[in-house]
């Protein structure tokens, strides 16, 4: 074949191909099904996601590249792809009831969720500047539309506009940084970039490029001081989308950031380490302190997700295999607990109640003891209390920081976890100790019940028996091209 592609490429790209076919099927199925039967679209979407997960798992043992070296097929990519598929599946499960209450059409919604997932998968697998950027753009555009999906809702519209304008601006900054990297190295392939730039690490333009790339990506992961969009967007977006945004978009951006920094710019490690050190400390501190004052649970979780971005950035600062492993572990745990917390919030949405104020949680224990128990588990886990997964994740991150010599970073992280307990426990207090505001009961649909059960089970099981996840993450982190080389650079 003259073009340098082989049938092998089709096999290696099977997850992406299956997902693309699936999302087209969902789109067309929506067009040709009546209104009464549209609830099947949710299950069809779940089916597509399951079908995507199968080749991901089957290919997870590979360590090669596909499509002329634009996409890596390795354990690192597979780990993240599984995370995205999982997050998308939970999103779809908690969406159906919510969409019915909002009277929104599900077809395009599920289609856009799948498109965002495809973009994320490309972001996690891409080892080429253009490929990464296209993946990021696909994810971002899907999320712009999903954020504004509730058309009659002013908050949703406002959130979409804010997210779009700021997002486009940050993408511009990122693109400028990438174009500088391309200009200096003469190639878009990250592994060749690393070789080309190895000798010119003190060029001023390269330093500018690193700063621009870091700023663009920091926007996507909502790290302080690039976090201003997050509270408004998280509050205005449909609750399941907020969940997907805070988990999927963040994890995908971290995956892309790791690819960019460790595969493409390992020579600039001293520069970006310093940058992300500052960003991590700022994000943890500002996020937690701002979260204390919030009366709206979605806004509070937005600030808490900013703080969590700070914790996860610790892994990038260390840039050791252990640090990357800790990031992977934490992102997976974070996916379960954050999706779960938003799932409970989505459950509270009823015709006349928005359900995202703290007072809406009052007396939840007496109305829905199981939902309240699930929320309790998620809050404790987000706060990092021992028997839950959140504790193991933080423990792994902070110990990676200490091992790499960043003791102060770990100390700041622990102090911040202590601050964060205040607002997580406040949610619990509201659920248990306040008077019940209204007697209207919320009935979880089977989908929500399944999603919450999975999230609670994962949060507890990983907390008690974390070894399998650690081993999986460790094996996946090892396949990230340059991680060992950075270690030797130090």
């Amino acid at each position: 074949m003259p073009t340098g592609y082989s049938a092998n490429d089709l096999v290696l790209l099977l997850p992406e191909i299956v997902l693309t076919t699936g999302l087209l099927v969902v789109l067309v199925a929506d067009l040709f099904t009546g209104r009464s039967r549209q609830h099947w679209l949710g299950w069809l979407t779940i089916g597509v996601l399951v079908a995507t997960a199968v080749p991901i798992v089957a290919l997870s043992g590979h360590a090669t590249t596909a499509a002329r070296g634009l996409l890596a097929v390795d354990g690192f990519g597979a780990f993240f792809k599984l995370l995205f598929v999982l997050a998308a599946a939970i999103t779809v499960l908690i969406s159906r009831q919510y969409l019915e209450v909002e009277q929104a059409r599900p077809g395009e919604y599920y289609f856009l969720v799948l498109c965002a997932t495809l973009g994320m998968m490309v972001m996690a697998a891409g080892i080429d500047l253009i490929t990464l950027f296209i993946g990021l753009e696909t994810m971002a555009v899907s999320f712009y539309v999903l954020t504004g999906f509730l058309r009659p809702n002013r908050r949703s519209n406002e959130a979409a506009i804010k997210y779009f304008v700021l997002g486009a601006f940050s993408l511009g900054i990122l693109l400028y940084g990438m174009s500088l990297v391309y200009g200096l190295s003469g190639t878009t392939r990250l592994r060749e970039v690393a070789v080309a730039l190895a000798t010119q690490s003190d060029s001023l333009a390269l330093k500018l490029a690193v700063v621009l790339v870091a700023a663009g990506m920091a926007f996507k992961i909502a790290a302080v001081p690039f976090h201003m969009w997050a509270p408004d967007v998280y509050e205005g977006a449909p609750t399941p989308i907020t969940a997907f945004l805070s988990v999927g978009s963040k994890a995908a951006s971290f995956a892309m950031l790791l690819r960019l920094l460790l595969e493409g710019l390992p020579a600039m490690a001293p520069e970006w380490r310093g940058l992300f050190y500052v960003l991590a400390v700022l994000s943890m501190t500002v996020g937690n302190i701002a979260a204390i004052t919030q009366g709206n649970v979605k806004r509070m979780l937005a600030y808490s997700s900013i703080a969590h971005a700070g914790y996860i950035l610790i892994g990038i600062v260390t840039a050791t295999p252990r640090g990357v492993t800790a990031m992977l572990v934490y992102l997976m745990i974070y996916a379960f607990m954050q999706m779960g917390a938003f799932g409970v919030l989505a459950l509270l949405r009823r015709r006349d109640v928005v359900g995202d104020e703290l007072k809406d949680l009052s007396g939840l224990f007496f109305r829905r003891p199981l939902a309240a128990f699930a929320m309790l588990v998620f809050m404790l886990s987000l706060g990092g209390i021992p028997p839950t997964a959140g504790f193991m994740g933080k423990f792994w991150l902070f110990s990676a920081a200490i091992e790499a010599g960043y003791v102060w970073l770990a100390v700041i992280g622990v102090l911040n976890s202590a601050i964060s307990l205040y607002y997580y426990v406040r949610v619990v207090v509201f659920m248990w100790m306040r008077e019940e505001l209204e007697s209207a009961s919320v009935h979880p649909s089977p989908g929500v019940a399944v999603a919450l059960t999975v999230a609670v089970a994962a949060t507890i099981i990983i907390g008690v028996y974390p070894a399998p996840l650690f081993e999986l993450a460790e094996a996946s982190a090892k396949t990230l091209g340059m991680a060992p080389r950075v270690l030797s650079l130090r």
């Binding site: 003259p2 592609y5 087209l24 067309v28 067009l31 040709f32």
Partner: protein
């Protein structure tokens, strides 16, 4: 840069024609402005209201869809140029590309975005 000389000459001719025409009428033509002459020309009828009316969002949608298919066609040109070397593989690549956008077209059609007459669509 060599092939660009004719284009530069053409641009110069175009600009020159406009400039010469305007300049000549400024220099040679008699000038006696009246309020009627200064008013915008509206087929001989006195203009009513502002020209800047609010447009329906329909126009925007059609423009958007036009633009997307415009880009699609723009991608076809380099494909056509390289097709001889791309061979059958290239043919199937563009089929995939077309298939993806065809789905979009089916969507647009079924949603009635292209129905201009009926009020039901928008």
């Amino acid at each position: 840069m060599e092939g660009w000389l004719p284009i530069v000459i053409m641009i110069a001719c175009g600009v020159g024609l406009g400039v010469v025409g305007t300049a000549l009428s400024q220099l040679v033509g008699p000038r006696s402005p009246t309020p009627e002459k200064g008013a915008p020309y509206e087929c001989g009828v006195p203009p009513v209201g502002d020209a800047r009316e609010r447009q329906s969002v329909k126009f925007y949608l059609v423009a958007m869809i036009f633009l997307l298919f415009d880009i699609e066609v723009a991608f076809l040109y380099p494909w056509a140029m390289a097709l001889r070397d791309l061979g059958w593989v290239g043919f199937f690549q563009i089929l995939v590309f077309f298939g993806l956008l065809l789905t979009g077209y089916i969507y647009v059609w079924r949603k009635g975005v292209l129905d201009w007459g009926s009020q039901e669509g928008l």
